[in-house]
């Protein structure tokens, strides 16, 4: 019995993975656009262009005029009587992004009568627990640096924690492009979140290094892999790595050295670095040195993963 449960569980996971994959995920996310857009030129132009794009959307009457929200098809279904042949409907889950569009007039009016402060609270009330973005046409700057409009924007960002997107002209086109970008970002968000869960635990950003990785085939490539391993320590330069490898051509040799020789750290520290250019007047760095030797010892002998190197 548990086998069947396992199987279903695995299946569900696979399905979920498929849905969040970049590219595929766009099919499972849709925009919900406030019906108010139908009544204004900007809205009509935008909707016209939207029809020729590959983005799913629905028009609905939303609690805040000229707002846009997003929903994701998570693969569940709800029972609905009467509206569908199967009696089931796709369940769409609300995403936590909200965009509100402001016309230039509305914005200027709000700046004048100081009603901009109500924007945030209204959005919070209608769509609690979301991240809010206000889209408005690009400000025309006054000749002298700052202006009431700019200050108003700053206050929106700082005080109300709203994101602000300034749209270029033609407005409908820019608004559409902006909404498309948001749709893509929202669609891919779960995938990115999954990836970042592991990365976030490290102080150092780890995922970049794949350019130099080593293919090991039929036992070949271990040597290079060992060199790459040593290079992970910041103090290990090419010459240092080569000198270590000359003495310890495989990790086992180094590990044996550490476990068998009581003065292992010291003798490793004293290991001479072979310089490629022949005898050099610099006498300072001809040894591996105590610092690096200790780091290597720590790396291969510590049992506490949080030990600092």
């Amino acid at each position: 019995m548990s086998n069947k449960v396992d199987k279903l569980h695995k299946q569900a996971l696979r399905e979920q993975q498929k849905r969040i994959k970049p590219g595929e995920c766009m099919k499972y996310v849709r925009m919900v656009i406030d019906a108010g857009f139908l009544g204004i030129p900007v809205g009509q132009e935008m909707l016209n262009q939207l029809n020729s794009k590959d983005v799913k959307y629905e028009i609905r009457s939303l609690p805040v005029s000229y707002s846009i929200i997003w929903e994701r098809n998570v693969g569940q279904q709800t029972i609905t009587l009467g509206t569908s042949p199967t009696g089931l409907n796709e369940a769409w889950k609300r995403e936590n992004q909200v965009v509100q569009w402001l016309s230039e007039n509305d914005f200027q009016k709000a700046v004048k009568n100081q009603s901009l402060v109500c924007l945030g609270p209204r959005l919070h009330a209608s769509f609690p627990g979301c991240q809010y973005t206000v889209a408005l046409p690009k400000l025309r700057h006054s000749k002298h640096g700052s202006s009431a409009s700019q200050d108003a924007l700053i206050e929106m960002q700082l005080l109300q924690e709203l994101h602000v997107e300034q749209l270029n002209r033609p407005e409908s086109q820019d608004l559409l492009a902006f909404l498309q970008r948001y749709t893509k970002a929202i669609a891919e968000a779960p995938y990115k979140k999954q990836r970042n869960e592991t990365l976030g635990t490290f102080k150092k950003y780890l995922a970049n290094d794949k350019k130099q990785c080593v293919r090991v085939e039929h036992g070949n490539g271990y040597g290079r892999l060992w060199q790459q391993h040593l290079n992970r320590l910041p103090q290990v330069t090419l010459e240092v790595a080569e000198s270590i490898i000359a003495q310890y051509p495989c990790p086992k040799k180094l590990l044996d050295h550490f476990s068998n020789d009581p003065t292992a750290v010291q003798s490793l520290a004293d290991l001479k670095i072979k310089r490629c250019n022949g005898p050099q007047p610099l006498h300072t760095e001809r040894r591996i040195g105590n610092v690096l030797s200790n780091k290597l010892y720590t790396l291969y002998n510590a049992k506490d993963p949080n030990t600092l190197i």
Binding site: K10, L13, R14, Q17, Q97, Q131, T133, G145, S146, Q150, D151, I154, Q157, L158, E161, H163, Q166, A177, R181, Y182, A185, A189, K193, T198, L199, G200, F202, K203, K204, Y205, L206, A207, D209, Q212, C213, V214, G219, Y222, L225, Q228, H229, R232, L233, P234, C250, P251, K252, K253, L255, L299, Y300, N301, A302, K303, D304, P305, N306, T307, L308, I309
Partner: protein
């Protein structure tokens, strides 16, 4: 402790000197012509620092002609005849005695100095380095509190900020900010281009939870191309400052920036939606500084009536509302600076993961799964040692599940790692 001594004999050739003086006096008395040459010889002998063992040796000196040297040798022969102890031995002994005396005197002087020093530093004074460390430790531990009105806000500008990374652009930044009346200070920041601190009269500095990263469009494009963008975003998130702001400045008409404009805008949308970063776009450097000045003003108003206290990064409360809370916990500037230093030390776990990633078929997810079971190389090696037989050891890692689908790692990777760590390959 070794001390180098330079010993110079005051009278390296006392015997010869005496004789020459005697002959000179004779010659002067008798008003002989030889007195001139004698005088010259005497002078050069007196200037010569090394002992001479015979008249013949003296010939190297000025004023010592053949006759004079012979005279000296003759006198020497007579002198030796009278001595009981050989001449050379006497000279040598005399010489040694003098050197020993000098050594003794110097040694005494050194002892005296040491005694005096010990007396002065009786309570052992900590070295300057130790003193500095104590001060730093005290500063780190101390709880800082600032009352409303008891601090002033200051905008910090990173010395390395601006895309041109040269002095001219920094000067431009400063002059713009000054023209907007924004109080600021240029400092080396280890994270971000612009920060705000609250400074009190005692010099304590707490960092406001806003951090601004200024990026011109061409910079943004190049940092996305070489991967720095994500690393930087990661570092900003790790800083502990909650409100991250990307100040993105146009580069002309944004046509020659190195990446399609749409890609950049998508990256910014992703940053907003997925990371919660604020994105502010400006048209040029002037407008960017205008924006910062405006932010300084607004922040000044917001924080005027707040009470601030210091917290360390571990106890930062994420749910605190910067705007409505009347009391806020903030990081100390010094703590932030040190934490964010790029050369932050790595842990064994981090290096181990990076090493594992070097293998071609090992993805980050797989590496994480391995490290979850065996957090350090030593743990893995011990597991290999404790394994009942080599076959088991080779497949030790193969069944570890990784990723959201929990697939097993597989035999290939397990065997590869086992062979890598336990065999003597060349």
């Amino acid at each position: 402790m070794e001390t180098r001594l330079e010993v110079r004999l005051r009278e390296p050739n006392p015997l010869f000197t005496r004789w020459l003086e005697r002959w000179l006096r004779e010659a002067e008395r008798r008003q002989q012509k030889s007195q001139f040459k004698l005088r010259q010889a005497l002078e050069s002998l007196k200037s010569y620092p090394l002992p001479l063992s015979s008249g013949r040796d003296c010939s190297i000196l000025r004023g010592f002609g053949g006759t004079l040297c012979q005279l000296i040798d003759e006198e020497l022969r007579q002198h030796k005849g009278l001595q009981l102890v050989p001449h050379e031995v006497v000279v040598q002994e005399h010489y040694e005695q003098q050197v020993q005396e000098v050594i003794r005197q110097i040694h005494e002087k050194q002892m005296e100095q040491q005694r005096r020093q010990d007396k002065r530093s009786k309570p052992k004074k900590p070295t300057k380095k130790e003193q500095l460390e104590l001060v730093a430790l005290e500063e780190r531990e101390r709880l800082v509190k600032m009352q409303p009105g008891g601090f002033k806000l200051l905008l910090l500008v990173d010395t390395q900020e601006t895309s041109g990374k040269n002095k001219r652009v920094l000067d431009q930044t400063r002059s713009y900010l000054e023209s907007f009346g924004a109080q600021h200070e240029v400092r080396r920041l280890t994270i971000g281009d612009f920060l705000w601190i609250a400074q009190d009269s005692e010099g304590n500095e707490l960092v406001l939870p806003y951090i601004v990263e200024r990026k011109r469009m061409d910079d943004l494009a190049s940092s996305i191309r070489d991967g720095r963008f994500h690393e930087q975003k990661h570092r900003l998130q790790q800083s502990g400052l909650q409100k991250i702001i990307y100040l993105v400045e146009d580069y002309g008409d944004n046509e020659q920036i190195g990446l399609p404009l749409d890609s950049l805008l998508q990256a910014l949308a992703n940053a907003r939606v997925q990371t919660g970063v604020q994105v502010v776009r400006t048209e040029n450097h002037y407008r960017s500084m205008s924006y910062l000045a405006g932010m300084s003003r607004s922040l000044g108003q917001i924080f005027a009536r707040k009470m601030l206290h210091s917290v360390d990064r571990g106890s930062l409360v994420k749910s605190s509302c910067v705007l409505t809370d009347s009391e806020l916990g903030l990081l100390k500037f010094r703590a932030l600076y040190e934490d964010s230093a790029k050369n932050a030390q790595l842990t064994v776990r981090e290096v181990f993961v990076q090493q594992l990633l070097q293998l071609h078929s090992l993805s980050l997810e797989r590496a994480m799964a391995i490290v979850e079971q065996y957090p350090t190389p030593r743990c893995l090696l011990e597991a290999y040692d404790e394994s009942p037989d080599p076959k088991e050891a080779r497949l030790l890692l193969s069944r570890i599940p990784y990723g959201p689908l929990e697939r097993p790692l597989g035999d290939k990777i397990s065997q590869c790692l086992h062979e890598f760590y336990t065999t003597h390959f060349r």
